[in-house]
């Protein structure tokens, strides 16, 4: 079977700067998280995949349909939720959903019915007839997400869906995404938040300066930078440095024996690498603490 999303050597540059520098990815399904710092090219990639932007070169296919040549079909398969809520602030939540439903081709009665269902399942009944302009950030995102799900999409694009949300709205949105994935929808999300990728994604890729620098499951990515490491921590529990532990028997004892006398008062802790470590090691933008000697 074709991958749900198939990207081959995709390139896009603005003013001589390569924003996407030859991306190749195949995504079977499930929740895929694209991680990357600001300016890495995440939104550009989502714009290309959701037919909003024509790439300079390379191809991208959704269920076998080219996003440029067969954009009309791709638009009949996807749902999108932008980085900032792409809804009409002067209309009410209900009117927004009815409008999207009509534009997707539902008749007037069916559109109203579907809007009611979505308002119910996203807990927006009370605010349904208020203008979206007066909604909180979390409610806007929920209307926006609901608008992307008026008809079940084969692929749902979520571009930084929880940026700027409070913790309660964020975990609520996480639950919505998890439910969608459980229902069989392929979710392509971007995020800057590693815990978000860790919580939701079956597969993670890290985008740095327009190129994929790592791609795999969360376990694989953290595995990339080594197993558990022994870390020296001070009395306040702050890491000081990673111990270089030889992998031979008695390696730890040897490492401890080799400690500088000034470090004798410190404690040793075993630390499991997190996606944060992988991200920092792989993007190498942040050198404040080198806990990742193995990968660096």
């Amino acid at each position: 079977m074709n991958p749900t999303i198939e990207i081959t050597d995709l390139r896009q540059s603005y003013g001589g700067r390569a924003v996407l520098d030859g991306i190749t990815l195949g995504i079977e399904g499930g929740v895929f998280a694209l991680l990357g710092p600001n300016g890495a090219g995440k939104t550009t990639l989502v714009s290309v995949l959701s037919t909003l932007l024509r790439p300079d070169s390379g191809t991208a296919r959704i269920l076998g349909h080219d996003v440029v040549r067969d954009a009309a079909t791709v638009r009949r398969l996807i749902g999108t939720t932008g980085q900032y809520a792409s809804i009409d602030e002067a209309l009410t939540g209900r009117e927004n959903l009815v409008m999207v439903a009509r534009l997707l081709g539902l008749g007037a009665r069916r559109a109203k019915q579907r809007a009611d269902e979505l308002l119910g399942s996203f807990g927006l009944e009370d605010a349904a007839d208020r203008r979206v302009g007066g909604y909180s950030g979390g409610m806007r995102r929920r209307v926006d997400l609901a608008a992307s799900l008026v008809l079940p999409p084969a692929v749902l694009f979520l571009d930084e869906p929880t940026t700027g949300l409070d913790p309660a709205s964020r975990s609520r949105l996480w639950a919505d995404v998890a439910q969608l994935a459980a229902d069989g929808c392929c979710v392509f999300m971007t995020t800057q938040m590693l815990d978000e990728a860790e919580a939701l994604a079956d597969r993670v890729a890290i985008l740095q300066d327009g190129a994929i620098v790592a791609d795999g499951t969360v376990a694989e990515l953290t595995g990339l930078i080594g197993e558990e490491t022994a870390v020296l921590v001070d009395r306040d529990g702050r890491p000081v440095r990673t111990l270089d532990v030889p992998s031979s028997a008695g390696g730890l004892a040897a490492a401890l024996a080799a400690l500088d006398p000034a470090e004798r008062g410190l404690r040793v802790e075993l630390r499991r690498p997190t996606l944060d470590d992988a991200f920092i090691a792989l993007t190498r933008r942040d050198h404040r603490l080198d806990l990742t000697g193995a990968a660096a």
Binding site: T4, R75, I87, E95, M99, R102, L103, L104, R131, G184
Partner: protein, 257 residues
């Protein structure tokens, strides 16, 4: 993964209907905007007839002269907001969603234009009503009224398309608002408020060469039972040219925004 049905999507006509509904909702909901679009032209008309009118024509016949000009001015006021609403759609997030839906996203412009034309017709009707109350005495038959209304409609459409194009070209809603202001001066440099021959000699060619003059001359002649000559033809050609130019801007610019 379970098979997902293709979303049916909509064609240009059904999508336009949805967008006209959306833009009309916007208009009705923006009570301030709607009442300003009606109150400002009425105020201007009262200003011209009662304050300036006595100085321009002490006989009191100025109201008959000025009403066509006010009608033209009024369409400018009403249409200016289209630039802002079009630009807001583009710079806000709404257009991102529209473009990713299986329907022609440009029909969103149709919604803005149609709603603006309807808004302006309403404002024009109110202005004409008030004009009749303050002494406007047209002597037109049904045919002349229809022709005059047709010309007003063509002008409203032309001005609206220009403002929609400004909305597509401007970088922000604020800028869109600013550009539109320049257009509102056009009626003052025409025969809308004063006869052409009262203008300084160097301004006469400017005034006669711009679209407002043939438009105002035609409407005035039609409503006051005079012979408009070729002026309606010039007015229609102007309006058609402006609509085409605006449409060209939309076709060129919309896919790039």
């Amino acid at each position: 993964m379970s098979a997902v049905a293709l979303h049916p999507g909509t064609g240009p006509i059904a999508a336009s209907r949805v967008f006209v509904g959306r833009s009309l909702r916007h208009s009705l909901r923006d009570g301030e905007g709607l009442s300003l679009a009606i109150v400002l032209p009425v105020m201007l008309m009262l200003l011209f007839t009662f304050v300036f009118g006595g100085a321009i024509d002490s006989g009191g016949g100025y109201v008959d002269f000025v009403v066509p000009g006010i009608i033209v001015l009024c369409s400018g006021f009403g249409a200016a907001s289209v630039a802002v609403s079009v630009n807001r759609d583009l710079t806000g997030g709404a257009m991102q969603r529209f473009r990713s839906l299986p329907m022609p996203a440009a029909t969103c412009l149709v919604g803005h234009v149609v709603a603006s034309v309807l808004r302006n017709l309403l404002a024009t009707a109110v202005v004409v009503g008030v004009a009749l109350l303050v002494g406007f005495r047209p002597v037109a038959g049904v045919g002349e009224w229809c022709a005059a209304i047709g010309l007003v409609l063509a002008w409203i459409l032309a001005v609206t398309v220009v403002f929609a194009a400004i909305g597509l070209l401007a970088s922000s809603p604020e800028a869109a608002n600013g550009y539109g202001f320049a257009l509102l001066f056009l009626p003052y440099l025409s025969s809308a408020f004063v006869p052409l021959d009262s203008l300084p000699a160097w301004l006469v060619p400017v005034a006669s060469a711009q679209p407002v003059t043939p438009l105002v001359e035609s409407i005035r002649a039609l409503l006051l039972g005079q012979d408009p000559g070729l002026q309606p033809l010039f007015a229609v050609l102007w309006c058609a040219g402006i609509v085409l130019a605006g449409a060209a801007v939309a076709v060129w610019r919309f896919p790039k925004r």
